[in-house]
């Protein structure tokens, strides 16, 4: 098993756990637990098998959901403090514009249901193929596209409503 491949999988799985849990320490714990499972579980695929990554993400996701449920039972409701930040590759004005847009997208993502948010992030952030997403979420491959499309359309709708709201606020303030 190459160390760099394992590092890439670990890094991605950690970010997914962070996207679910919104807390670095919890996300780290979840990935560590999942790694111990990956080492000892008899049916765990082994790297460099391509099926290891979706399998590992699935374990991390399930552990993160357990963690969330535990938190909810304990009364903690402050979840999903995601921090979508801008990359720093463009001119200042463009950066500011892109930062605003990313902040809006982050906000719109928060308003999606858990299921819709995770499918959008698995595809658009983590770059999984539909078959892999189906494996991670344990759903039929045929329903990935329709679920994803519904989620994206909701995201688009939320962004458009927000844009209209901003325009109205600006007009009123003039």
């Amino acid at each position: 098993m190459t160390k760099s491949t394992l590092n890439d999988v670990s890094q991605g799985a950690f970010r997914m756990a962070f996207q679910i849990l919104g807390q670095r320490a919890d996300a780290q714990d979840v990935v560590q637990d999942a790694m111990a499972v990956a080492r000892s579980h008899p049916s765990a695929p082994q790297l460099p098998s391509l099926s290891f990554k979706p399998w590992f993400y699935r374990v991390v996701r399930n552990r993160a959901i357990d963690q969330l449920r535990k938190r909810n039972r304990q009364g903690e409701r402050e979840l999903f403090e995601e921090s979508l930040q801008a990359s720093h590759k463009s001119e200042p004005d463009v950066i500011r514009e892109q930062e605003e847009l990313r902040a809006q997208i982050a906000h719109a993502l928060q308003r999606l249901s858990f299921e819709q948010r995770e499918i959008v992030l698995l595809k658009d952030y983590h770059g999984f193929a539909y078959q892999e997403i189906a494996d991670i979420l344990d759903i039929p491959t045929g329903s990935v596209m329709s679920r994803l499309h519904r989620a994206r359309m909701n995201l688009r709708k939320t962004l458009s409503e927000r844009a209209h709201k901003n325009v109205n606020t600006e007009e009123q303030s003039r």
């Binding site: 997208i105 982050a106 994803l148």
Partner: protein, 151 residues
Amino acid sequence: MSSSSNHTELREMLSGYVDGELTQQQSQQVSQLLERDELARQIHEDLQQLKQHIATAEYPSLNEADLNHLDSIMNDRTASSLQLYGWVAVVTGFLILTVPFLYAFLVNDTIALWIKLGATLLYGGGLMLFISVLRQRLLTRKSDKYNKVRL
């Protein structure tokens, strides 16, 4: 299928088109839709932008020490070996204790046949019940608590 429902279905394929997950025939159908449908073009453009922005979002990363720690967990040969030896020991011990006992029990002429039969049914039935519960647990894992998550 009516023309409008076909239209709606094609619009639903826009996500697959943006992700490059459609067949060649489906892609051609969506391309034709994009040529004639202004709304579909707008949705297509928006979806591409959304995808691009989400892809370049930044989230925290694990540092080198964290990654090394995970690597050491995954490649902890001592833990893997201990686990393997542990299972071998448990299974061997179980066999050493049960097989001779079972043999002696079944061939013992001083024990009445009805007792042998009764004991075999009792333990055999218990084992079957255990397997059925285990099987049920495994089956329910397929439609498990991580599906349709509501939090």
